[in-house]
Symmetry: C2
Subunit: 140 residues, 2 copies
Amino acid sequence: MLKLKIISVGKTKEEWLDSAIQEYVKRLKPTLTCEFVWTKNSEQLLQLAEKEPLCVSLDPNGALMNSEQFAHFVQNQFEKGGSRLTLIIGGAEGLPTKLKQSTSLISLSPLTLTHQLTRLVLMEQIYRAFEIIKGTKYHK
Amino acid sequence: MLKLKIISVGKTKEEWLDSAIQEYVKRLKPTLTCEFVWTKNSEQLLQLAEKEPLCVSLDPNGALMNSEQFAHFVQNQFEKGGSRLTLIIGGAEGLPTKLKQSTSLISLSPLTLTHQLTRLVLMEQIYRAFEIIKGTKYHK
């Protein structure tokens, strides 16, 4: 079983977001377990990230990929991390410099998205990634 | 008052999506009115689009922009269209060829998003665009 951890700054209480994200968590259950960790600030984010074996961070200057490329990227990262992968979403002030230097950086869009939308788009792409790898029709 | 129309194929019933989109519709109310039109298929989409004075379509091969560029693009389009703008989101089979040729094409991300997420990201960016134009702190 693969283990995905998403660490982000600031918990949000939007009900619509929870219900949308939980739908993807449910669909991914046979493939991977998802853990969401919220930190109070960037310092705490950095502390927790440094304990993780393999982190990938979201950053506006990160690599832009299409969904097929993202699927292969995610698959490679899980292999590299021994079935574990941690994704980092920075706070409003952006990613700590140390994480910009020490982790792989990816970007979901050249547009600036809210943290809520970033989390949702990320979960949908993770789900889409495994559908692409499995070769189902979801992504067509 | 600006008038935005979004025409897309296939109505979806996700409650979380409605509630998230309505939040942006409400916030945009002092600036513009939003009308959502759903069509049964691509033929109907094309018919309705052809009646509109100015359409911009979402397409995987469309121009990628950051949020500032998108804000200026939207502002220009509203000026060009006499305060009216119609945005077109194609169905699962993509945009009708005629619209690919006759309208400006934009893309929200190199990633393939669900239609639901496309609508939500689009509405958030429209809201963000006017906050950028107004110079508020929302987009910082």
